[in-house]
């Protein structure tokens, strides 16, 4: 059981000893950036560190990160669900985010998305059955001059992409180990739910033969009729 309120006792670490070492060192560096009475400010950084190791943030991982910074799990969860770069479900070893904001869209990003969809056999928001790739549609990456732009595994920019270059990139990622979302060995099993939508970027629907993307925002609750 994950307690929702304040922690009552120590929370077990989700890391292997090697991961633990990297996490602890990173956390010490992040905390040192803030005044001593403001350690909680390092929460975003700490979550990134945990995700770097594990690829995604499970409930026990969130509870542990919160425990290390004296932040209640419910506050951690609030942060994790707010920001799109955090993953609350296992995603593919490689995550490809194609920008579909205005400049990239004007320069043909929907074609790129459609091409990726076809290559991988998934829609934006999904993960391939073999757990290798997730595809997402992402918001403007501040690379609009080199549109269309894409982002691999949260931090790697690829710009001026074409259907051909995306194909080549996917091939390259498949073959090169060490470039994936998480550093350590992945505590992830092929999972019957993998083919479901991953949490994060805009949710997409549509069929592979229709337009690649038609996105329905989660925000809001009222359907115009």
């Amino acid at each position: 059981m994950i307690p929702l309120g304040t922690q009552s006792g120590p929370v077990e670490s989700p890391f292997t000893p090697e991961q633990q070492q990297r996490f602890d060192a990173g956390l010490a560096r992040a905390v040192a950036k803030y005044p001593p009475d403001r350690r909680k400010a390092a929460l975003l950084a700490a979550l990134h560190l945990a995700q770097d190791e594990l690829g995604w943030l499970s409930e026990p991982t969130m509870a542990y990160v919160g425990f290390r910074l004296d932040v209640p799990p419910v506050r951690v969860r609030e942060v994790v669900t707010f920001y799109t770069m955090y993953r609350m479900r296992p995603v593919g070893r490689h995550q490809i985010g194609v920008c579909n904001s205005i400049s990239c869209w004007a320069m043909g990003s929907e074609k790129i998305l459609k091409h990726c969809s076809e290559l991988l056999g998934i829609h934006p928001g999904e993960t391939t059955r073999d757990g290798q790739f997730s595809l997402e549609e992402v918001s403007c990456l501040a690379a609009c001059g080199n549109a269309p732009a894409a982002l691999v595994n949260n931090f790697r920019y690829v710009e001026n992409v074409t259907p051909e270059s995306m194909g080549a990139l996917i091939g390259e990622l498949r073959e090169k180990p060490g470039t994936e979302m998480a550093k350590g060995p992945l505590p992830r099993m092929p999972d019957p739910h993998l083919h479901e939508q991953s949490q994060g970027a805009p949710q997409a629907t549509g069929s592979l033969d229709g337009p690649a993307v038609s996105t329905h925002p989660e925000a809001g609750s009222t359907e115009p009729r």
């Binding site: 929460l43 609030e78 904001s101 400049s103 690379a143 001059g145 549109a147 931090f155």
Partner: protein, 418 residues
């Protein structure tokens, strides 16, 4: 007059981002001069320079710094907005990648001016391994050279600089959401007042100047030229040059330094090589996705903050998108509105519901399932969202929604039934 290169003069040099290159071009000569001035003198020069914030609102930087200086609560902070997320905007990333030291020098001068000894540069999370890595390298070099840390250049001024990063949320570019995020929380904009510059409103509730990367990159130039000289470049009350981030159907997209107030036609023809082969200009997004659209006939408009405000749009973030005849503006608006619906933080009902409604209505229209009333409804919903919310995201969604319909109604009508 050929445009002076104040911010971009090193950009094309090999390894332009290193301390060595920056110093060879005269870098870090403004800092010792600044440290010999009184902090208030620097702020006075900035006031004279008519420097306007480059993050979007165009607020006079000198005035903002005077607000912070007047506060009597210490410590005070300067926080840098490097969250660049406005659709169509990509100039801060270029500064960080190509001349991070220009920014760092400006940052140090800015901190000295507002009496800040601990500063944070909040980068968008996606920048971590690229633009932020360059920035971190520059910060490390600055420390090693004695430009940051304790007793900078023997002046007695101490400054700690930290680069931190977010985790993907456009709203964290809004200054109070940024502060929330920096404090380790979700990025909910704060209700103002108190404003960040005032006690109770800033980082850790202390008086805080939040400034954009490009804004600060101008500081070494202002100290070197003096406020008056700097202010002569550009337009009245809009000092200096601006980095225009141009994208869309132009021959040569990219970041161009041009005097504030250059017309959109001159920017297109003289800097971007005009429209691409086969493209005719149809519409201009003048200052990021949140700004009201301009028609091709309006390309003569000057690009300074005051002119565009008078024309009911805005100079915003300096992200200029030139669109050609192949674009149906209803589709373009539907694309933008998906962005706002996704990025609304959800605190305010008019914004949360309004952006979602607009997005769905526009998706319906572009799917060919709408009628004329849907188009009118988009316009009306947008009007009702304005000026009612905690932050300006809702207005930034309403402005394009209204203007795209007002100026390109035919594009919408072509998609809907009677």
């Amino acid at each position: 007059m050929p445009a002076p290169k104040l911010l971009t003069k090193d950009w094309d040099k090999p390894s332009s981002w290193t301390l060595e290159t920056y110093r060879q071009g005269g870098g870090y000569q403004a800092l010792p001069r600044a440290l010999k001035m009184q902090p208030q003198q620097i702020v006075d020069e900035v006031v004279k320079s008519n420097l306007r914030g480059r993050g979007g609102a165009g607020f006079p930087t000198g005035m903002k710094w005077n607000f912070v200086r007047k506060e009597t609560s210490f410590p005070k902070y300067l926080v840098v907005n490097a969250d660049e997320g406005e659709p169509g905007t990509f100039k801060d990333r270029e500064i960080l990648l190509r001349s991070p030291h220009l920014f760092v020098e400006g940052l140090i001068i800015g901190c000295y001016a507002v009496d800040c000894h601990l500063t944070y540069v909040y980068c968008r999370g996606e920048f971590r391994d690229s633009a932020m890595a360059r920035l971190q390298q520059a910060i490390d070099e600055a420390y090693a050279a004695g430009f940051a840390g304790k007793n900078i250049l023997g002046s007695g001024f101490d400054l700690e600089i930290h680069a931190v990063f977010g985790a993907g949320a456009y709203i964290c570019g809004e200054e109070t959401a940024l502060l929330e995020s920096l404090e380790g929380r979700k990025g909910y904009p704060r209700l103002k007042p108190p404003f960040p510059a005032n006690a109770g409103g800033g980082l850790f509730r202390q008086p805080t100047a939040v400034n954009n990367v490009e804004t600060l990159a101008n500081l070494p130039v202002i100290v070197t030229l003096g406020g008056d000289e700097y202010g002569k470049i550009g337009a009245p009350k809009n000092g200096g040059t601006r980095l225009f981030a141009v994208s869309g159907h132009v021959k040569k997209p990219g970041v161009f330094e041009a005097p504030m107030g250059i017309s959109f036609k001159a920017l297109l023809d003289e800097y971007c090589g005009g429209m691409r082969e086969g493209s005719t200009l149809k519409a201009i997004i003048p200052g990021g996705g949140s700004s009201a659209i301009m028609t091709a006939a309006e390309a003569e408009w000057a690009s300074d903050f005051d002119t565009l405000k008078a024309k009911k749009t805005m100079a915003g973030s300096g992200g200029v998108v030139y669109l050609d005849q192949s674009v149906n503006m209803a589709h373009a608006l539907a694309n933008l509105m998906r962005f706002y619906a996704h990025e609304s933080c959800g605190q305010c009902t008019p914004c949360r519901e309004g952006t979602a409604w607009l997005s769905r209505l526009l998706d319906k229209i572009v799917a060919g399932k709408g009628d004329k009333r849907d188009v009118d409804n988009v316009h009306q919903i947008a009007r009702q969202m304005e000026m009612k919310t905690i932050c300006a995201l809702a207005d930034g969604a309403a402005m394009p929604a209204k203007s795209y319909i007002e100026k390109f109604r035919a594009d919408f009508d072509a998609l809907v039934r009677g």
